[in-house]
Symmetry: C2
Subunit: 422 residues, 2 copies
């Protein structure tokens, strides 16, 4: 079964807006065993949209349209599907009444255009949308195939706003699709690794996952991370589950501690979890990352029990004021040095009365032309970790621009902490 997703809306043909609904729809369709073969983005133009729908009906079994169900003249999806399939549109009295009631409740007169939202395609089922005024529509129909024989097509019309589209697709469309497709049991696993080249992960894991032709393996790389997605479909849920676990365990054995997450959790979630299990309190002192590490750690719900905060010591004076680093040390060695990384980690640990102090100091770019750090290369980063007895400092040279250096520095810091906690 092949699907095509058509995103309708002229704003998605500008440099400013992207179709994002299709990622969600694709995940849901894939779960049901349906592959997405085409995605089309088309503007609010009757001729273009009708043409795109006709094309989709000829090359896909399931056509999902998102957007164009609003009340304005620009909202053309209903009309264009009707035209493409030569179907009538009629007004659904219940839906019209619902729309009128909403206006009455707001003590407003309903503009005549809004009646368009009650128009339903001949033979279609209306899908109630509790989060908006435009209902979705489900049409299970047949059209003449290339050889003249009738071919079944499912056409789904969904509203564009994600908070309306997602629940409507999940609660109204997926069950209807599942009922008309062969039953399917799937299992997924996600392993995550940081700071390893994709080629190395592939070289070490391909000999394993290639032994599992019945498991679909996808390697994704980005933001300093490698993700290994496994997906398996079997006649029972147990068989599917057993199979993804089998491949995941072999890969885990091969990659060992390089895997930070064996069930999809983020690196910050894992670090906060490990701190919690060991009942440790962490404080951080960030220079070049300017708060990014704190921001990531504090984004974990309930992190505050174990991640306490710390200092953003962006200017050198603040390394002195907030972490008690001796000014002479910065003068002598530079703010980007083993010594200052050590003093920051120890200083913030002490000031915050925490079990652990983690520090980052580096050159995110541009390079400095004066002062004790002049001439140190962009991407040079020192990370310190103090536990009250011992302080380790590591040096990194991170390639890339300012944003990448900052991001990778936080990854290195969290990985250093995780490996120490292991």
């Amino acid at each position: 079964m092949l699907a095509e997703i058509i995103a309708v809306g002229s704003e998605m043909l500008t440099p400013h807006r992207q179709d994002t609904n299709s990622l969600y729809l694709t995940a849901g369709l894939n779960d049901l065993g349906v592959s997405v073969a085409f995605k089309t983005i088309v503007g609010d133009n009757r001729h273009h949209l009708t043409g795109a729908i006709i094309i989709a009906l000829h090359r896909a079994d399931i056509v999902v349209l998102s957007g164009g169900l609003g009340p304005t003249e620009d909202d053309l999806t209903r009309e264009c599907v009707a035209e493409a399939l030569s179907l009538e549109l009629h007004t659904d009295p219940t839906t019209l009444l619902e729309i009128q009631k909403r206006f009455v409740a707001r003590r407003m007169a309903m503009p005549p255009n809004n009646a368009r939202q009650a128009m339903v395609l001949e033979g279609a089922e209306l899908l109630q949308n509790p989060n908006g005024s435009a209902p979705g529509q489900w049409l299970d129909t047949v059209i003449p195939g290339p050889d003249g024989k009738p071919v079944r097509k499912v056409v789904i019309l969904l509203p564009g706003p994600p908070k309306e589209l997602k629940p409507l697709f999940d609660t109204a469309c997926k069950p209807r699709l599942a009922a008309s497709l062969p039953p399917r049991f799937l299992a997924k696993r996600l392993l995550r690794m940081a700071l390893i080249p994709e080629s190395q992960v592939d070289a070490r894991t391909a000999p394993i996952y290639q032994l599992f032709p019945d498991v679909e393996t996808t390697i994704l790389a980005g933001s300093g991370e490698i993700q290994l997605h496994f997906l398996c479909v079997k006649p029972t849920a147990e068989e599917a589950e057993a199979r993804v676990n089998e491949v995941a365990e072999l890969v885990e054995r091969e990659m060992g501690d390089d895997i930070f997450s064996s069930h999809g959790e983020s690196l910050e979630e894992i670090v906060v979890l490990m701190l919690g299990l060991r009942d440790l309190k962490l404080a951080v002192a960030e220079s070049c990352t300017g708060g990014l590490l704190s921001e990531r750690l504090s984004s974990v719900v309930n992190a505050s029990r174990n991640f306490h905060g710390g200092a953003v010591v962006y200017a050198s004076e603040q390394k002195v004021n907030l972490c008690g680093v001796p000014a002479e040390l910065i003068e002598e060695k530079g703010a980007v040095s083993v010594e200052v990384a050590r003093a920051l980690a120890e200083g913030i640990r002490e000031r915050c009365c925490c079990s652990l102090g983690l520090s980052i100091t580096g050159i995110a770019g541009p390079a400095l032309t004066e002062g004790p750090d002049a001439g140190k290369p962009v991407g040079l980063v020192y990370i310190g970790l103090a536990d009250g007895e011992d302080t380790q400092v590591k040096q990194f040279q991170i390639p890339g621009d300012r944003e990448r250096v900052r991001l990778w520095a936080t990854m290195h810091a969290m990985e250093m902490l995780r490996h120490t906690l292991l």
Copy 2:
């Protein structure tokens, strides 16, 4: 002139990857006066891709393909364009030699497949790609139109990686397109506002921009910000410039200080700039935002002269340790209170020896069930600003989830600072 962009690659038909090149290509095409009417995403499938190219040739004047130019069997763009247009492919000896040289330089034998990257379409011009091994291709051709008369079509083949595609499009494609299109002079302006409802901006500005039918106005809302984009095309650059400036100035007069940026700068850039002009030093103390405000301010290049850093006081103890807030005050009023916001702003200002102290404390969610802040609503945020003489504290109730509360709190803090500096 209408364009269609075809993004080629099966990974963009998964739930994990999005086509992003098309946003960049759209901006460049729009600058030349070309509208994008369709975007298609298609996998590495010969039949699907050839079909999509034939459709695009019939509904667009310019067809831009990205991806599918690599050396593997899955890279089909060249072959499919040739098939769609019934053109031959031949090997370009210079390109082949270049590819062979690269392998020689790495002391490797060239796998036979790599010769595919030297295949050029009959009548096409090769576009040298200094950032990768696959050259682009430019084909200016004619096909029979619906009435049998020849119609001109431009077909552009570009490599998929953005760092190869972008320079190739800018340096090789835009000049070629510009040469074959009527000369066009355009000017743009971007005004940015924060924390105002889009409907209010539209109600106040529409009566102005509607007087400028020759200026294309786009309102974009997101991340707590409203952007007003103006674009104007005229026979000379001066006329276009004058016209966008005219509408922008009238809108600026109407919206006044609500506009934080009159030439597209970000709110953090403006705040850092204003601090610099007044030679002020800022330190911040963040609780619920966990470092996000610092991260945003420090993302501005050379911010450290005026943004000094500060404290992330995520746990209550750290409000005491790092900002000197009396523990009894937190006990009595709760960490999320006017009093603690004031003490944090004053405390961080003093500890960091800065001119200004800015604090954020709030409930990002979930709500607390015990302690002095129990029962305070999610989204309640206090922001404090101390200048050594006076400390102002404002209360906000920010709707939405954890991530939104954090983001909007940083916007409110920067806006409060900006309005004070004005």
